[in-house]
Amino acid sequence: MALLELQNISKYYGNIIALQGVTTEVNAGEVTCVLGDNGAGKSTFIKILAGVHQHDDGDFLLEGDSVRFNSPREALDRGIAAVYQDLAMVPLMSVWRNFFLGSEPTKGIWPFEWIDRAGAKQIAKEEMAKMGIDIRDTEQPVGTLSGGERQSVAIARAVYFGAKVLILDEPTSALGVKQSGVVLRYIVEAAKRGLGVIFITHNPSHAYPVGDRFLILNRGKSMGNFAKSEVSQQELTQLMAGGAELEQLQHELAEAIASKDAASAS
């Protein structure tokens, strides 16, 4: 049984079809990549999974139960953690405070509860180390970390708080080549630890090496849902851009370049 299964999920905003008939599955220890160009419905897709929005049609099965989340908190409680593009980090706050934000460990009895700072720092450091990052000083503000390190804090946080399904929203989009590689390693690391990972991206060359399953979205519709064995990177790219459209675009590009060459030659 798949950890998470979506069958013909649809979402409408009034008369706009944001998502229609999307089907895929996420297994424990595997990475499911959701690929799509801008406006393909990726954001709507993860917002449904994370409980920000609710689906209007179809079945959303988590460990076999049909579920419908009313808030991100509910999704979190069921083990679905989302790491958003903007990272959900507070740049001026320290690494350990960000790590535990919203779920700080406390000591004492209400109303005299205080944060267990020493414990929190210790755990944050250890968890980061497990992901292969060595943060020397957990007191440093997150704003001073590099993009890749911030992603790692977010991923380590989700893993620590018992996520079964980890949703990563474009984690590599704002990163350089090397940093992206580092983040991809964290993704594999998380999957190795038994999580089901949903990796959302518009870059097939990032998705193909780490993914076990690929869902391609275009204008709110599913362009296909493949296991890795069924599809090549080339085909992925084709499908993402809507196949024929990309060919058309290439054709136009070729023409434009030819005319430019002609102009410069004359």
Binding site: A88, M93, R97, I115
Partner: protein, 877 residues
């Protein structure tokens, strides 16, 4: 605190530190201090205090301190702290000022029996308090909810609340009582309480009368309804007439009986007024509390506090020996200190029982509680930290034979200083204290920190450094140092010259009107601006093209001076000249001298800092020279100054500074600095710093709160400290704890820093913000109560427009306008700065309207300085 057992092979965190993030350079202790948001405010507060202390007579005295504390605490301080929390949470509240008055009015109106034609509730204060609190919470909830639901900027929403409150206050007050202020709180309660009225009347007419008997003969008992007495047949009037008629025999026994009767009337329920008045408007009359040991306690506190602060810096700065651990020392020191403070407080409250038994009992109980807390901290830590840690701490203290004799020496010095009043005695005392501190601190260090390879090596290094003294880096050491020296000498010269004239007023002396002075000030300022606009370094570059030694020296001087001018020139001259125009010769002298001293200090320290980059021993040696200069300045001031506060206070402070500098210089010569973080040591350092600050504060408060017999005989001005200071301290302490240590505090920073992000990770952002508005409103309620009990009546306009002062205080204290960064402690310091401007300008006998100029300049400077410090500190990462 680490519980690891000492003696591990490799406990040095810095050695184990991975090279993973080598981009993060290690920050030294001073850099790390600078990153705190309140540090700029603290430095500013000290500078401003020193400035006013120098130019105004009452500023350094207990009375001045009392009024600063009073203004700083309430309404300003409490509100500034609350507003700071709100600002960290990313919101503003413009209704706070109006709210303070509003809640006071609401409370008074609830208590009144008859309010104009509209009637009144005539509630007991015990009901009025929680009800008005509920009103406050409702206002906060309203503000918060509207801001949250509509998503409008909070300052628009709260601006609306402000006008609603302002209008409602005026409207209701006019409608209900037909004037723009409420009636008096105590009067109203008395008027509302008929029985109390009778009691008062009996007292009024009672002197020397045989009232008890007469009352009995008339058949009046305590149970007789008051209405009966007051009834038309005039029973009560007849009673009083009879009392007056029988007013012949006044023996002691009858008086006693009378007093008892009167008391029985007076002690009837007064709706909680007298109890609550004690809590909200109690005054500590300093002159009634004589304590001969005061100066001893003060000196001990100052000595202990300074020593602990130095130890804290040591601990954060030097490299620890392997095997040295924190465990045990901090709880020992902290607990001991708190216990001692509590014991001192207990003794004070036992020896100075005030007339009011409730206050006395409260004071004793709270002091005992402090003792208890201290002891329990010691005990609990002893259980948690391993016993080994404690024994190691004690052993390391014992093992070093130098610490205890050093402390003993210092104590002897203090006794000497206290016992004699002669110059020789004081000098001996001061030298003993300095030597004792040096011995003890070096002794402490030598058990804990790694020594430099040897002093010989240091000397060698110094020799190397002086070899390449022509090096460009070492070349930049000399100019600031020379400028510092020149400033110092010029300052001393000026001070002497100005003292030579006997005139008290510069303006008359120079035969210039204020306007002429103003014009001169403008011209000078313009000149300064022009000079600063001409880039010093370009001139310097042209000059240095010349090959002669003179032109090269001049180029260096102009280059450095040009850089300094740009930042300091304009403001310094404008401010100096403006104040000069109104100052007496004493004040002018003080300003000049302090300014030049300040320039000298900054320049010399710049030189020292640069020297450190060249070679460490050189920096330490320069620091030693500076400390000698400071000591020299102290003696100059002592010899030259006419005012006692310069002769004694300034002298001792400068001497202490010189001693600390010298000790630090020697320590840095002997011990190695750390090159990496050591959280265990930092934790201990922080604890020591807190303990030191506490000791200093306790010492200072003892000095402020008590008088000696001699002072009473001399007839010092009476001073009263209001209980609102305690409310302020308590509020700040709780707010700081909440902000720094609890989940709610973490969430405040989170919603201010990035609201969406914090919501995504499960922080209840809306709830947090609404609660913040509620906290602000509750603070306004508390301030309203304090105002009502203090003033007895509240004007309809009380507090209106003061919200900006709260915000300014918070901003001056380092709180970011954009949210997510700041501190409540900073806001409290900001409140002190504002209070000093309120008190300092009139007490320096300048027109108090200048205050607003002052506040504006301070605000601008504070924002710029905070920004600058922050970027500097963050670059240094």
């Amino acid at each position: 605190m680490s519980d690891t057992i000492a003696g591990d092979a490799d406990p040095q965190t810095e050695q184990a530190a991975p090279a993973a993030d080598e981009r993060l350079a290690y920050r030294g202790v001073f850099q790390r201090m600078l990153i705190r948001p309140e540090i700029g405010a603290a430095i500013g507060a000290i500078a401003i205090w020193t400035f006013f202390w120098a130019v105004s007579v009452p500023f350094g005295k207990a009375g001045g301190a009392a009024s600063i504390l009073d203004v700083a605490s309430s309404p300003l301080g409490i509100m500034a702290v609350a507003v700071a929390m709100l600002m960290i949470g990313g919101e503003f509240d413009l209704s706070t000022g109006a709210a303070t008055g509003a809640f006071g009015i609401i409370m008074i109106l609830m208590v009144r029996d008859v309010v104009g034609d509209a009637g009144g509730w005539g509630l007991s204060l015990w009901w009025a308090l929680p009800l008005s609190l509920a009103a406050a919470i409702t206002l906060g909830w309203f503000n918060g909810t509207v801001v949250d639901r509509t998503g409008l900027p909070s300052f628009i929403v709260t601006l609306a609340s402000f006008f609603v409150l302002k209008g409602a206050k005026l409207g209701f007050s006019k409608q209900l009582v037909d004037q723009i202020q409420t009636g008096k709180l105590d009067d109203l309660i008395i008027a509302a309480d008929q029985e109390r009225l009778v009691g008062l009347r009996l007292i009024d007419d009672a002197e020397g009368a045989r009232q008890q008997e007469l009352l009995n003969s008339l058949g009046v008992t305590m149970d007789t309804p008051v209405e009966g007495l007051e009834a038309g047949n005039g029973t009560f009037g007849a009673l009083l007439d009879a009392v007056r008629a029988a007013d012949a025999n006044d023996n002691a026994r009858e008086l006693e009986q009378l007093a008892e009767l009167s008391r029985s009337f007076i002690d009837r329920p007064d709706k909680g007024y007298s109890t609550l008045n004690e809590i909200f408007a109690y005054d500590w009359l300093r002159n009634e509390h004589i304590w001969e040991w005061r100066d001893w306690a003060y000196m001990l506190g100052a000595f202990l506090g300074l020593s602990l602060l130095v130890l804290a810096v040591y601990e954060m700065h030097f490299r620890r020996k392997p095997g040295v651990e924190s465990a045990g020392i901090l709880p020992l020191c902290g607990g001991l200190l708190i216990a001692v403070a509590g014991a001192v407080l207990t003794i004070v409250s036992l020896t100075n029982r005030s007339q009011n038994p409730i206050a006395a009992v409260l004071a004793i109980a709270s002091s005992l509680a402090v003792v208890g807390i201290g002891l329990s901290i010691m005990r609990s830590y002893r259980h948690r930290a391993n016993a080994q840690g404690v024994s190691i701490a004690v052993k390391s203290l014992m093992r070093n034979a130098l610490v205890l004799p050093g402390v003993a020496l210092a104590l002897v010095g203090m006794w000497r200083l206290h016992a004699t009043d002669s110059v020789g005695g004081n000098t001996v005392g001061a030298i003993l204290i300095g030597a004792g501190m040096l011995v003890a601190l070096i002794g402490w260090g030598s058990t804990r920190y790694v020594r430099r390879a040897s002093l010989g090596d240091a000397a060698q290094q110094l020799g190397d450094a002086s070899d390449d003294f022509d090096d460009s880096r070492s070349g930049s050491v000399a100019p600031p140092f020379v400028i510092g020296l020149v400033a110092l000498v010029v300052g001393m010269f000026l001070a002497r010259r100005m003292d030579a004239d006997n005139s008290t007023n510069l303006v008359v002396e120079w035969d210039l009107s204020g306007w002429a002075m103003f014009l001169i000030a403008l011209v000078v300022a313009g000149l300064a601006a022009f000079l600063s606009a001409v880039r010093g370094d370009t001139v310097a570059a042209e000059l240095s093209a010349g090959e002669t030694a003179v032109s090269r020296a001049m180029s260096v001087l102009i280059g450095t001076a040009g850089q300094r001018m740009r930042t300091a020139g304009i403001l310094t001259f404008i401010v100096t000249m403006l104040f000069l125009a109104q100052a007496t010769i004493q004040g002018a002298r003080a300003i000049f001298f302090m300014l030049l001293l300040g320039v000298a200090a900054v320049s010399c320290m710049t030189g020292v800092r640069r020297a450190r980059n060249v070679s460490h021993p050189l920096g330490s040696l320069l620091l030693l020279i500076v400390s000698v200069l400071v000591a020299g300045t102290a003696f100059f001031i002592r010899a030259e100054s006419m005012t006692p506060k310069f002769r004694t206070q300034m002298f001792s402070v400068l001497l202490a500074v010189a001693a600390l500098m010298a000790i630090w210089a020697i320590a840095t010569l002997i011990f190695q600095e750390r090159s990496g973080p050591d959280h265990d040591a930092d934790g201990l350092g922080r604890g020591l710093a807190v303990a030191g600050g506490l000791a200093l504060t306790v010492g200072l408060f003892i000095r402020l709160l008590a008088v000696t017999e001699a002072e009473v005989l001399r007839g010092i001005t009476p001073t009263r400290f209001s209980v609102r200071i305690l409310w302020f301290l308590a509020f700040t302490a709780v707010a700081t704890w909440v902000l720094g240590r609890t989940r709610f505090g973490s969430w405040i920073f989170a919603v201010g820093g990035n609201k969406d992000a914090s919501r995504q990770v499960g922080v209840p952002a809306s709830r947090t913000k609404t609660q913040l508005f509620m906290i602000t409103a509750v603070a306004a309620w508390l301030v309203g109560l304090l105002l009502a009990f203090r003033l007895n009546t509240i004007q309809a306009s009380t507090g209106d427009g003061e919200e900006f002062e709260y915000i300014i205080a918070a901003v001056v204290g380092g709180n970011a306008l954009t949210g997510g960064r700041g501190s409540t402690l900073g806001a409290a310091i900001g409140a002190f700065i504002m209070a000093m401007s309120v008190q300092g300008i009139p007490s320096a006998r300048w027109n108090s309207d200048w205050r607003f100029v002052f506040v504006g300049v301070i605000l601008l400077l504070a924002v710029i300085a905070n920004n600058y410090i922050r970027t500097q500190a963050e670059q240094a990462r």
